[in-house]
């Protein structure tokens, strides 16, 4: 395996010189399944891996995957350490002010509460991941927000009774709830936050943005994007 990898990188090096402009680095977090995660082989995997690879193929770009901490994912894009953010990032006005988004490749997602009991107090202590739109929403809802560094820890906080509920992307919570043997359940109403998930790009990279927009549109048109959504999120998820 290592040898094959080495061979391909050497190959990439050789051809890369000719087409230097076309190597696009995709930055992701690698800790947000099923959107993106590091699989057991140590590589980026998940919905966004499939989408990203397909988009690059359609736009005829050579792509490379990079992982970066969520906290500094935008500053590093602007610093040029990678060219595209593909990390389950919701399109929000705040972010639109500093970076550009492609059209969404995942429909506006619902966020939901998960708790141990159906009568959990959603105005009590609610866990969320630090610096996400969900954390901001909980703070505004009047509940006491308990912020954790990773989404994992926020779910763990509900399990051990630290928080009454956790508020996060429904698609992230769904498999966890499904596999908890009835311990965890969805409570309260779903909330629509953000304008769907899009690729984040530098404002000056208009050409690249156009290429990706065309590629996303073509995937939407021939239904391959819906197929990928269904593959990773199950048949009940909202599609295009």
């Amino acid at each position: 395996m290592k040898k094959i990898l080495l061979a391909t990188t050497l190959l990439a090096l050789g051809t890369g010189l000719a087409a230097a402009q076309d190597v696009v680095r995709l930055g992701t977090e690698g800790a947000y399944p099923p959107f993106n995660f590091i699989n057991d082989a140590g590589e980026v995997a998940g919905f966004e891996r499939d989408v990203g690879d397909e988009l690059c193929k359609r736009a005829e770009l050579t792509c490379e995957w990079v992982t970066n901490e969520w906290d500094s994912i935008i500053p590093n894009l602007q610093s040029g350490n990678y060219d595209v953010i593909i990390a389950g990032m919701s399109i929000t006005d705040e972010r639109e002010e500093v970076i550009d988004f492609s059209q969404n490749y995942f429909p506006p997602a619902a966020s939901a509460y998960v708790a141990l009991a159906a009568d959990a107090d959603l105005k009590g202590t609610v866990a969320a991941q630090i610096s996400t739109i969900q954390a901001g929403y909980v703070a505004e809802s009047g509940a006491t927000v308990l912020e954790f560094a990773t989404p994992d820890e926020s779910v763990a906080a509900v399990r051990n009774g630290e928080a009454a509920a956790v508020f996060a992307d429904k698609d992230f919570l769904a498999p966890i709830v499904a596999e908890s043997n009835g311990e965890l359940m969805f409570v309260g109403e779903e909330v629509q936050l953000g304008g769907g998930v899009g690729l984040g790009l530098r404002e000056s990279d208009t050409e690249l943005k156009a290429k990706f927009n065309t590629a996303i549109q073509s995937m939407k048109d021939d239904g391959s994007l819906n197929a990928l959504i269904e593959k990773h999120f199950g048949p009940e998820t909202a599609k295009f």
């Binding site: 890369g16 082989a41 140590g42 990079v66 970066n68 500094s72 000056s204």
Partner: protein, 292 residues
């Protein structure tokens, strides 16, 4: 890895565990121990060199240079290392690319446009087309430099103190024998200062060991990053689903750090004994008496 591991969800018990512990991700985890050790091995001399430079500057008779040396030590030590790491690496990266852009780019437009930093493709470090290996090596180099800068400030302080601790009379005697400044420094001060600097430096080494969990802030995937990543609960989307096992991974790290500290303590104690031999200190005197 092994043939039995082809379908992890069908196996259980010890086989499952052995497959789990040899998955690609775990191999990355084991590699990260090497990364951390390598980083320590590279950073320690680099920080020492930085500290030596800082201490020399602080002792300098040229006022601006001495202020620079003292300012460097005071400023960097006043700031918690974690805060420093959070913005310094991006700044360093941009600074390097800006300098390179002055040399290689055709147009010299100011690269900072609002929050965006833009230089021409040729000025990227490393070049956009280079392989993942170079990107990682560059990230590693940035981390080493940043660590060396922070710990160099502490080392500068220790060395500055050690240089002042060498008995003045000896230096004066050396000068009376007609040695030049440089000769006094090389022949009298340098060989003796280490014994005074060692306690401070060994503590610094210990601090350095324990600062390695901050590496993940610098973009280097260290043992704590992988322990967190591997230990977190895994759904069926993964090949090896399991509940939250972070506790076990962190206990493992705890043992690693304790052992590493212990070994370091033993080695440093020996080094200290070696350096004290023949020195005009209490420890050196005790050794002389024991030998006589």
């Amino acid at each position: 890895m092994f043939a039995v591991c082809a379908d992890p969800k069908a196996i259980e018990g010890l086989t499952w565990l052995s497959c789990y512990l040899t998955s690609g991700k775990h191999l990355d985890f084991y590699w990260s121990f090497v990364t951390v050790l390598l980083l320590l091995a590279v950073t320690a001399p680099a920080a020492l060199a930085m500290g030596f430079g800082g201490a020399m500057a602080a002792r300098s008779r040229i006022l601006p240079l001495s202020l620079l040396g003292k300012g460097y030590a005071a400023l960097v030590r006043g700031v918690p290392d974690i805060v420093f790491f959070l913005f310094f690496v991006i700044a360093l990266d941009q600074g390097l690319e800006y300098l390179k852009s002055l040399a290689v780019c055709a147009d010299h437009a100011w690269p900072w446009q609002g929050l965006e930093f833009r230089v021409c493709q040729e000025a990227k470090v490393p070049l956009g087309a280079s392989s993942a290996f170079w990107h990682q090596a560059y990230g590693f180099a940035l981390a080493v430099f940043t660590f060396a800068l922070v710990f160099g400030a502490f080392a500068a302080n220790v060395l500055y103190g050690a240089m002042n601790a060498v008995p003045k009379a000896q230096l004066e005697t050396a000068e009376a024998y007609g040695m030049s400044h440089g000769q006094v420094f090389r022949r009298v001060l340098m060989p003796q200062m280490w014994v005074y600097a060692l306690p401070g430096l060994s503590n610094l080494w210990m601090i350095l060991i324990k600062a390695t969990p901050l590496l993940f802030l610098l973009g280097v995937k260290d043992i704590v990053y992988w322990a967190r990543e591997l230990g977190g609960s895994k759904t069926q989307a993964y090949e090896y689903p399991h509940p939250d096992w972070r506790l076990w991974y962190f206990l493992g790290l705890l043992v690693f750090y304790l052992c590493f500290t212990k070994v370091s303590e033993i080695v440093l104690a020996r080094l200290s004994a070696r350096l004290s031999r023949g020195q005009a200190t209490a420890a050196g005197e005790a050794m002389r008496r024991a030998g006589a």
